[in-house]
Symmetry: C2
Amino acid sequence: MADEKQPASKNITSLDIQAKELGIGGRLSPETDENLYKKRMQKRKDIQSKRLQVRKTKKGLLIVFTGNGKGKTTASLGMALRTIGHGHKVAIIQFIKGGWTTGEEKALKNLSSNISWHALGEGFTWETQDRVRDEVLVKEAWHVAKKFIKDESYKLIILDEINIATKLGYLSPEEIITFVKSLDNRKNHIVLTGRGASESIINQADLVTEMKLIRHPFKEQGIKAQACVEF
Amino acid sequence: MADEKQPASKNITSLDIQAKELGIGGRLSPETDENLYKKRMQKRKDIQSKRLQVRKTKKGLLIVFTGNGKGKTTASLGMALRTIGHGHKVAIIQFIKGGWTTGEEKALKNLSSNISWHALGEGFTWETQDRVRDEVLVKEAWHVAKKFIKDESYKLIILDEINIATKLGYLSPEEIITFVKSLDNRKNHIVLTGRGASESIINQADLVTEMKLIRHPFKEQGIKAQACVEF
């Protein structure tokens, strides 16, 4: 196939376009005949399997969950659960306390001995009221984080609220990037959570999702933080 | 306090503005003296506790995770874990198969008898290639979903990929809204996941987060779907 001589990225783009042109199907599809519908979906299926074939690279990913919406810490918690489900080890390092709370902590601790949990940071700046101590704790958390990232027996390392720590000036994004780049052929995945991820981190990451707030009852309707949703 | 006579929403906004003006602190704060820093943070703390006080409403929330980024299903999985951690029951109804996979399923099934899992939908449209059957399965899933939503012993009901089902025309957003509105004083939280949530659902929801794709290695670098990240 001529396609195979193209650079991977060009091939990928071409397949993406073909997939888009074929569309996704569903009840409102234009076909008046179910066999025609089936035919188009079969074409789409063929494209999908080609799309999977051209994506061959496997590597440790640098993943960022940022933005002012909900789900950053919760999504990383879900990844922890997936990883444990596969029988791998997870390290969670909390740079600022508050994101992971009673519900998750209880559930995860009962769940598996494969989780290594380090709540190193303290509360919000207005709780601690001490920027000198805050910085010391962030540096300590980063020290622990590096240890786990270098330990190949850990498949997933979650650096919870580290983006806040860099935003507050307690740790430089460059320090994180330099360290991650220094590791040859890293196999484990690193997740950085927290709003306000720095541009340099975003540019370096493999997978970045911005959780964007669209509607929020706590802000708009005066609704109380509730168990299971917020903690 | 004069504040107390204001409508809740006005009071909330005023406190939000005061909090913003006080700022969040951190290493780069302007204060040259740690006591001055501590003083500003104490003021912020006072505002924060007022912010919590004015948010008094407690109710069952309608929560939407949408957008083309990562973390929609994973965030709802994290909420399931939180809920179980609090000792409550969770129902998960999958409208399209594929979002929850081996890692999560294994972990959750081992975790707790408090999870009721219903994988009712089949695969992507190009896998099933049968829109008539797809619609029947979606209607069945919605039937099961309603049963759990009406059952007050369930604290959290996750309708996974239901947004896709409505987008494909298999279930109308109005049917969902009418049903949810018909329930008096509902206590449980309902989570709707999937890209392409309809405008009417978004307008009705209490909490909407758009997971927005910023960078994605699978698309841009030809990286393979990997255990713990994708499944």
